[in-house]
């Protein structure tokens, strides 16, 4: 069994992590050797990953509940994606360096789903999980939307104002090519976010300039603030759109199924370097994993009250240890 590669980014030598990752570390110490950097992935342990995802969901709910503010819906729907990306797919370095040379990069364009980003970054070893307690508080590094401004490790660009992330990623991808760095640049975008025209500028640029070291994933949850994307402004057939714009498109039918996400990202990776930027259309359920939050835009940007939190947490029992 290839064990080296799972949960690879958590360094047990990082003292700050020990407390927060007690359970996590215990669990993988049993099975794994923790390397700091690796390049391939094989046979991840789905149960381990599922535990990770469940804990991430708890983190999302607790962050948002504590400050009665933030965006649980989109965050929950993308818990699997972030977990797979940081735990299984990306070749990245938790010893954070802004330039990110010789590692894969990730840019979150739909910055409002910061709770899932913060949880996964913390639990991957970028900063102490306890810091999730400071989400959206004054003087915190965990701003409402991710930012470089407060020096939080793992963040390479501010986002929040929608539609800008793909352009940034393309710049980073072009810099990688200049640097002869073969690593990949990943991005995530909301589906509603694709209504912003800047995305289409970037989409056109990427194809026209063969930026084939980029994998952009669209969180197709069918929801945005004022309702479903269908009622607000229908996106139509996104596959056709991206293909008409010259991208290589693949779909993940269920972006809340870990195996599908892993396979989808693997497949996407195998399609890089072939002259076309790669797009993943990933169907997710907004609010996934918390029954009353699912399939509705109502929880896009609303925090649960105490009771709702309890319900949500009970549906997602503690696995790796709460912060």
């Amino acid at each position: 069994m290839e064990v080296q590669l799972s949960l690879k980014t958590v360094s047990i030598f990082d003292k700050k992590l020990i407390t927060g990752h007690r359970l996590l570390c215990q669990s993988f110490l049993k099975t794994y050797f923790c390397g700091n950097k690796t390049t391939q992935f094989k046979m991840p342990d789905i149960n381990e990953l599922q535990d990770f995802v469940t804990q991430v969901r708890r983190d999302i709910l607790r962050q948002v509940h504590k400050v009665n503010s933030g965006h649980p819906g989109g965050s929950l729907g993308c818990a699997e994606f972030f977990s797979v990306l940081y735990q299984e797919v990306m070749d990245h370095n938790t010893n954070f360096d802004m330039d990110g040379k010789d590692e894969d990069l990730f840019f979150l364009s739909n910055g409002h789903i910061s709770p899932v980003f913060y949880s996964v970054l913390a639990r991957s070893g970028y900063f102490p999980v306890e810091e999730l307690n400071t989400f959206r508080l004054i003087d915190s590094r965990l701003q409402g939307h991710p930012t470089t401004h407060e020096g939080l490790p793992g963040i390479r660009i501010a986002s929040g104002s929608l539609g800008q992330g793909m352009s940034v990623a393309l710049g980073a991808a072009q810099a990688k090519k200049l640097n002869n760095d073969k690593h990949i640049v990943y991005t995530l975008h909301g589906d509603g976010e694709l209504q912003e025209g800047q995305n289409w500028e970037a989409i056109m640029y990427a194809a026209g300039n063969k930026v084939d070291n980029v994998i952009s994933t669209v969180d197709l949850n069918g929801q945005q603030i004022d309702g479903s994307t269908e009622t607000v402004l229908p996106l139509g057939n996104l596959k056709e759109k991206f293909e008409a714009f010259g991208w290589d498109v693949l779909e993940i039918e269920d972006g809340n199924d870990l195996k599908q996400v892993i396979d989808g990202l693997k497949e996407a990776k195998s399609r890089t370097g072939k002259g076309k930027p790669v797009c993943i259309l990933m169907n997710t359920v907004m609010g996934n994993g918390v029954d009353f939050m699912m399939h509705t835009h109502a929880w896009h940007g609303k925090a649960p009250n105490d009771e709702q939190l309890e319900t949500g947490l009970s549906q997602n029992p503690e696995t790796l240890g709460d912060y």
Binding site: V67, S69, G70, G111, H112, R136, L137, I138, D139, S140, Q143, G144, H145, T147, H149, E150, A158, S159, G160, S161, L162, G163, G192, E193, Q195, E196, G197, Q224, I225, D226, T231, V232, L233
Partner: protein, 317 residues
């Protein structure tokens, strides 16, 4: 000293919503456009009452501004609604060409201005929008201070022929201006007569200025307080007259001290009657996450800051 009573805290954006609802009933040319923030902008009622006159454009602010400009051709009076950052910085060139330079009768209505937007943080907290909009020839720029004034302003701008930027905010704040007020674009409102210092405030800072004036009065300092809801066209006469009388000015705004109301006042006085002035405003920093109250406090946007600035400027007289 006259007492200004808070008749119950309300958010200014609800004043906009109430005004828009009323306009929907009284002016059939009024149409509304929103970029996926209908609830935040309090446009739901208009939308429900007049679905055919409500245009959901999705997350595409540039298109929204262009469409609004186009709707004026055909006699409509479009009110666009989104957060202040996405109402201005995101679409500056669209406003510039398709609205301001084209002289279109579009009302750009912007909520969640300034740091009181709160927890979403700096990417959403624009502190430059007054400056952005005031530089556009022909643009009227209004920043209202409470629910009643925002509602009155919303009604008033529908009557005004030409582009308008109406700026308001997210949190509940004191509602203290008269319910039945007539809103006169470009006319400063004197809240207190005073001798020692002129406090010129706009938006959420007006209530803070009132509190400051009351406290200053107790300390024996007589402050003239001006609610300058219209930053452009600026009521220069009111400013000059008051500065001549008091010889010291404090401006207060939820905005960067660069480019906003403070600099407009400084420019007016430099041209007419140079006067010592202190600037209650953010000091060229981005905002951050926090509660509105915490942020007003941290960034020096409250009555305490106004009092400190007053004491400082008085020493400079």
């Amino acid at each position: 000293m006259k007492e200004y009573k808070n008749t119950g805290s309300k958010d200014t954006r609800s004043g906009f919503g109430a005004g828009l609802t009323e306009l929907g009933k009284t002016n059939e040319n009024v149409v509304a456009l929103c970029a996926d923030l209908t609830g935040s902008l309090k446009m739901d009622e208009f939308k429900e009452n007049h679905p055919e006159r409500f245009f959901q454009v999705g997350i595409a602010e540039a298109n929204m501004i262009g469409m609004a400009a186009g709707m004026t051709i055909g006699g409509k009076i479009p009110f666009t609604g989104t957060f202040a950052n996405f109402s201005t910085g995101r679409v500056y060139d669209q406003i510039r060409q398709s609205v301001a330079y084209s002289g279109k009768n579009v009302k750009i209505c912007a909520s969640h201005a300034g740091v009181t937007l709160g927890e979403d943080g700096a990417t959403h907290q624009i502190l430059e929008d007054i400056g952005l909009m005031k530089m556009l020839p022909g643009m009227t720029v209004i920043n209202t201070c409470d629910f009643n004034q925002t509602k009155a302003a919303t009604l008033a701008i529908a009557e005004h022929d030409g582009p308008v930027y109406l700026r308001f905010g997210r949190p509940k704040v004191a509602n203290f201006t008269p319910e039945d007020q007539k809103f006169e674009i470009g006319k400063a409102v004197k809240l207190y007569e005073g001798r020692d210092v002129t406090i010129i405030a706009t938006g959420h800072l007006v209530w803070e200025a009132i509190q400051a004036a009351v406290e200053l009065n107790e300390k024996g300092i007589s402050a003239e307080v001006i609610d300058i809801h219209t930053i452009k066209p600026l009521d220069e006469e009111a400013i000059i007259t008051s500065a001549k009388k008091t010889g010291a000015v404090v401006t207060a705004e939820e905005h960067n001290f660069l480019g906003g109301l403070g600099e407009s006042v400084a420019r007016t006085l430099a041209e007419n009657h140079p006067t010592p002035q202190e600037f209650v405003a953010t000091q060229d920093t981005f905002g951050e996450s926090g509660t509105p109250a915490q942020l007003m406090d941290k960034y020096g946007l409250n009555s305490a800051a106004i009092i400190k600035a007053t004491e400082k400027v008085l020493k400079r007289k």
